[in-house]
């Protein structure tokens, strides 16, 4: 290896450079990235460009179809759908990404520790069982009752509820990731390269970060993509139950839910938010695919 690199006149390339160049060759991932960035930019600056107030109920213009004045139509109170989809995207993507990250970090951490350290396996897995078994709705009611007013006082109604929702979704959705990661780690731990690393005295921390983590990326990536969708949908279920954001605060999940009632009258009301959620999930999924391929040295070498 050393000779060849001496003879090789290619310029020095970092690991992340390699990853990036591999990532670029993945067509789906590139399309996914462009779409995802497009959605991000759209919801970030969209509300400034399309400056109709999403909460303004223009009663005379209610239940309208698509027109120049309201490109995506209006809802049953005459609120502009485009403005609502743009505004709702901010919340949904923010909730989806943060909650997914939180649950992913928690799940991976617990899964890796449980799979790698035999002593902690029992207690941590029983904890996972406990969380899986808890009745979600009463738990939510309790959390909301205990913390809603405190958080509302500390951070104001919107940020307070945002933190609460991200926390709730994150804390109640890490278990599956943890179980899957642990299963994979259990299998990996018995592989020769881990034995080799252990036998030359590599500290556990390093074994985990250098050898285990890269090999369990694919289930984590899948969990991540599915996690975003779950978080966006769960948020809508929460607001439906009166546990989420105030009702005049649009989110994609909520728009979809409200629109379902009007499915035969105005199909466009479910199509737009549904499309937005699906596109986000799909693009994140392709990015995940590309990332996994790019991070896998065996594929990268091909």
């Amino acid at each position: 290896m050393t000779d060849s690199s001496l003879e090789d006149d290619r310029k020095y390339r970092s690991l992340w450079g390699d990853v990036w160049s591999q990532f670029r060759t993945h067509k789906g991932a590139m399309v996914g990235t462009v779409v995802f960035l497009g959605i991000l930019i759209g919801v970030a600056i969209g509300p400034y460009l399309w400056d109709i107030d999403p909460g303004f109920a223009n009663i005379r213009h209610r239940n309208q179809g698509m027109s120049w004045e309201h490109p995506l139509g209006t809802d049953q109170l005459g609120r502009d759908m485009l403005a609502q989809v743009l505004q709702g995207g901010r919340v949904s993507i923010a909730v989806g990404l943060t909650a997914m990250l939180l649950s992913l970090v928690l799940g991976t951490l617990i899964g890796v520790i449980a799979g790698y350290f035999r002593k902690l396996d029992g207690p941590l897995m029983r904890l996972t069982d406990l969380f899986l078994a808890l009745p979600l709705l009463p738990l939510l009611l309790v959390i909301i009752m205990l913390f809603r007013d405190t958080l509302r006082g500390l951070f104001g109604p919107e940020t307070g509820i945002f933190l609460l929702i991200v926390f709730i979704i994150g804390v109640t959705s890490w278990m599956q990731t943890a179980r899957i990661v642990r299963g994979d780690v259990l299998a990996l731990k018995e592989r020769e390269f881990i034995l080799a690393a252990n036998s030359i005295g590599t500290p556990s921390q390093r074994v985990i970060s250098r050898h285990i983590m890269p090999n369990i990326l694919s289930p984590i990536m899948v969990s991540a993509t599915l996690g975003i969708a779950t978080a966006i949908i769960t948020e809508s279920a929460l607001s439906f139950l009166g546990l989420g954001f105030p009702s005049d605060f649009p989110t994609w999940g909520r728009l979809l839910f409200d629109g379902t009632q009007y499915i035969s009258q105005a199909p466009s009301r479910v199509i737009w938010p549904g499309l937005a959620i699906s596109l986000t999930v799909l693009s994140v999924n392709f990015i995940g695919d590309g990332l996994r391929d790019a991070l896998d040295p065996r594929i990268r070498g091909r």
Binding site: R126, V222, T225, I277, F286
Partner: protein, 342 residues
Amino acid sequence: MLNFTLRRLMFTIPTLLLISFIIFLILDMAPNDPTGNLPLTIPPEVRATIRASLGLDEPLYIRYLLWCQQFFVNEPLNLLNEWFGWCIGDCENRLRVSSWATRSPVVDLIAERMPQTLWVVGMSYVVGILIAVPIGVISAYKQYSWFDQFGTFISMIGFSVPTFFTGVLMIVIFSVWVPNDSIFWLPSIYDTTHKVDDWSSFVFQIRQMAMPVMVLGLYNAALISRFMRASMLDNLTQDYVRTARAKGLKEQTVLLVHVLRNSMIPVVTVIALGIPQIFGGAIITEQIFKVNGLGQLLIIGIQGADIPLVQTLTFLFAVLIVLFNLVADVLYGLLDPRIRYD
């Protein structure tokens, strides 16, 4: 392995007791109330009497111990009595776990709802697995082919569009748009009293199950096929696959025996974790199609703060989760003999 299984089983008893207590605590702290759904015309003093008659005045630990006694002692004794006719103790007036809303034994309610939940949710799970595994395998084997792209697209749609939407969409298409006399027309309301005793009633059963099974099956298939594909992809690039091919094994054998078996570990977790959810029912889908199975029972119980009902249901659910996690662990050992637990 046997040793491990036994040890784990021993360990589950205190775990489950702890879980049951925590569930009880949460249900007790939750701010909804059994009189919350009653009409406002019922005055507050009467509400207080109702609460007292439900035993809500007693301290928490007494109510918990009472539930434990009813659930762990009285219910099993009652089962013995019903199944074998054995009567131990005072079997006439034994207090069973009773729901507050229906004033009837919770276990009977659960038994009444088991068939429709197993039929619909269980079938959708089987359908989901049957679709997902081949799709996952082919998608991974032919990565980035049109089949893979299409499969990815469909499963992502299946996953990101919630069942409250797909269910209503199906009803609008198959029950409202399709005329009543067409063979494609499907009933939008599930008849739980329907009994299958001949060919035409069997056909009717299939028809009324079709929509909920499709909706749930799509969702399950989307979930499982993603994990299947990812795991297959990981294994396809492993050295042992190259070795097997180099040995001249048939591609079919390499794929279906070597790779598939090794790829099952994360998938087994997903499947095993999903099985208790069959018994948990599918709250939204059951509600949309009026299947009225265990999921609907649970949600009604929660909305009405029917603590004995919710406590019993969630506890049984917890037992299943703990059990199936054990099953998954045992399966890991069988799928990958290198995994050792002792």
